[in-house]
């Protein structure tokens, strides 16, 4: 094959490549534009309404911070945070809800994760059913669980705890099961050879390998659950979300602002603490390897 032939073949192939690529790009953009147009029609999206609404939104947000003067700083802030005792109590409730739901959900989900790992259970039926249960618990949003639990348990933090627990057990069960499926089979075989039963295999063969990952996922879950615990109150499931919901519904702007500030500060603090701890955990893990 001469050089010019090779060059011609290259040109041909490159042209082909360009053509397929162009076709895909055009298809992609056509699909995108179609989706965009349909979405605008379906939602009756109206730019004018957004533009008209924006000043009201900023106005709303500005009103959330009452005038605070330098000379009367203490008094102004004191007046703004008139409900601080009540709100801090709600905040404590929120944090404890998140804690309890994380503990319960992780315990139950962790137990189920052994049944949801293909390499650890012999029976396919057990594996399949556990996986589906976890999937349902995880896919139904926690706020929908909260609505259901409010029906059965009445308004209050109990419904919220249960809702977040169910969602957590679904998510943790799946994540832990994936960790379990990735553990080395050698320690398990060793324990079986030494005469251990299934529980021994799980306790001494799987758990030591999987524990660092479990811990890391659990800290991450705490962050998520604090967020969830602040919003399940919107449907009556307790926590500071309830105070926030009523203050926005009743247009008590300053109250809403004060509560939002507490919520954001808490969430950021929890995220930072948890992230630091997770990094330490991962650092340790890498050191020991």
């Amino acid at each position: 094959m001469s050089v010019s032939e090779a060059a011609a073949r290259f040109e041909r192939q490159y042209a082909d490549y360009r053509r397929t690529k162009t076709v895909w790009t055009v298809l992609f953009w056509a699909l995108f534009v179609a989706c965009f147009a349909v979405s605008i029609v379906v939602t009756r999206f109206d730019v004018a309404a957004v533009v008209a609404g924006l000043p009201r939104t900023t106005d709303f947000i500005v009103k959330m911070i009452p005038p605070i003067g330098w000379s009367t700083f203490g008094a102004d802030v004191g007046e703004w945070y008139w409900g601080i005792g009540k709100w801090l109590n709600s905040l404590l409730n929120t944090l404890l809800m998140a804690y309890l739901a994380t503990v319960l959900g992780t315990t139950i989900g962790g137990a189920l994760s052994f049944l949801a790992a293909r390499n650890l259970v012999k029976s396919y039926a057990v594996y399949w059913i556990t996986r589906r249960v976890l999937e349902i618990a995880r896919t139904v949003p926690d706020i929908v669980w909260a609505l259901l639990f409010v029906l059965a348990f009445g308004i209050g933090p109990l419904a919220g705890v249960l809702a977040i627990t169910v969602h957590t057990l679904g998510a943790q069960g799946k994540l832990f099961a994936e960790v379990n499926e990735n553990v080395s089979a050698l320690p398990i075989e060793g324990i079986r050879a030494a005469g251990g039963n299934w529980l021994h295999e799980m306790r001494y063969g799987v758990l030591p390998q999987a524990l660092p990952n479990y811990m890391s996922y659990t800290f991450w879950r705490i962050e998520l659950n604090v967020r969830s615990a602040t919003i399940v109150g919107f449907v009556g499931a307790g926590g500071i979300g309830h105070d926030l919901f009523t203050s926005i519904q009743l247009l008590y702007f300053a109250d809403a602002g004060a509560i939002l500030l507490i919520v954001v500060a808490t969430i950021m603090a929890i995220d930072m603490l948890s992230e630091r701890y997770r990094h330490r955990l991962i650092g340790k893990e890498q050191l020991s390897q």
Partner: protein, 300 residues
């Protein structure tokens, strides 16, 4: 060769630390686990797990709620449900796209390697954090109050959280890019615009598209619940049916939502695999956007 029990006992006496942690470490662990357990029991008590009310609730949940959920009914309203489900998807789509459009230029401001003026870079990042710190439902509540009930409030809520998320995700993609390609374009005589077009975009665009698709997937879930506070979409119908105790119709809606979420997950995963070219490990899809960029330990 197996050590005899006597040998083991002798070793244990000589090297106690090899067999068990130090007393201090043991005390620390005991306090930690004991404290956690005590707090758990306290919480159980505080939230009323040890009351008859709880037992009642369990019975009620089992017998009334669960048995009344099935079988799903309301199939005569299916066309209306489907229309509202479509509206939900449209909300997720528009919210994600609007967020992406606004975030794209801001992401360059928030990247250390693109924005030499530190305070502006830092400020943009913190601004993004602030937008992201509030949940979709909180923004939805605010927008419902400001621009009225309906899907527009939901779209705005999704868009504003996404601006924050995309600034973070895009700027991380931009900061991770390889300088060599930019240098190459510069060495070949490219100007600033050409450097961005041929040196930067080809590297970051697949990541950005993939992240955007992932967030669209995530936002389908969010959009389906925003209606609970009146911000449009299927959540409104769901909350309405639940509060009216029409549990069987609510069941049909929940099944529709779950199936839609699965379908979108599947499609988006296939598309993302095509775009990125390899299967990347994703965090659980129902989690908060904040963690898309920093999934669990295994992905590191």
């Amino acid at each position: 060769m197996m050590p005899t029990p006597a040998e083991i006992a002798e070793l244990r006496a000589r090297l106690p630390r090899t067999f068990s942690p130090s007393p201090r470490e043991r005390l620390r662990r005991l306090l930690l686990w004991g404290g956690a357990l005590a707090l758990t029991v306290y919480c159980l008590d505080r939230f009323g797990f040890f009351t008859w009310n709880f037992a009642d609730g369990v019975l009620k949940f089992g017998s009334v709620v669960v048995s009344q959920l099935f079988p799903p009914t309301g199939f005569d309203q299916l066309p209306m449900f489907l229309r509202v489900m479509g509206e939900t998807l449209a909300m997720a789509f528009l919210g994600t796209v609007l967020g992406a459009i606004v975030a794209f230029p801001l992401a360059f401001l928030a990247s250390k390697n693109m924005m030499p003026f530190r305070p502006l870079q830092f400020g943009t990042r913190r601004f993004a954090d602030l937008l992201r710190a509030f949940d979709y439902l909180i923004w939805a509540l605010i927008f419902v109050r400001a621009i009225g009930l309906g899907p527009m409030a939901g779209i705005m809520a999704i868009a504003i959280v996404e601006v924050g998320t995309f600034i973070k995700l895009y700027s991380e993609a931009i900061e991770n890019l390889d300088r060599k390609q930019m240098d190459g374009v510069r060495a070949a005589g490219g100007n600033r615009l050409q450097i961005i077009r041929y040196g930067v975009l080809p590297q970051v665009l697949p990541m950005m598209v993939s992240n955007t698709l992932y967030m669209f997937e995530h936002n389908t879930r969010s959009a389906s619940i925003l209606g609970i506070v009146g911000a449009g979409g299927i959540g409104f119908l769901l909350a309405d049916r639940l509060r009216a105790y029409e549990l069987q119709e609510a069941c049909l809606i929940i099944i529709m939502v779950v199936m839609t979420v699965y379908a979108i997950d599947f499609l988006s995963k296939k598309l993302r695999e095509r775009i990125i070219g390899e299967e990347r490990r994703e965090p659980v899809a129902d989690d908060h956007p904040q963690f898309v960029a920093s999934p669990g330990p295994k992905a590191r």
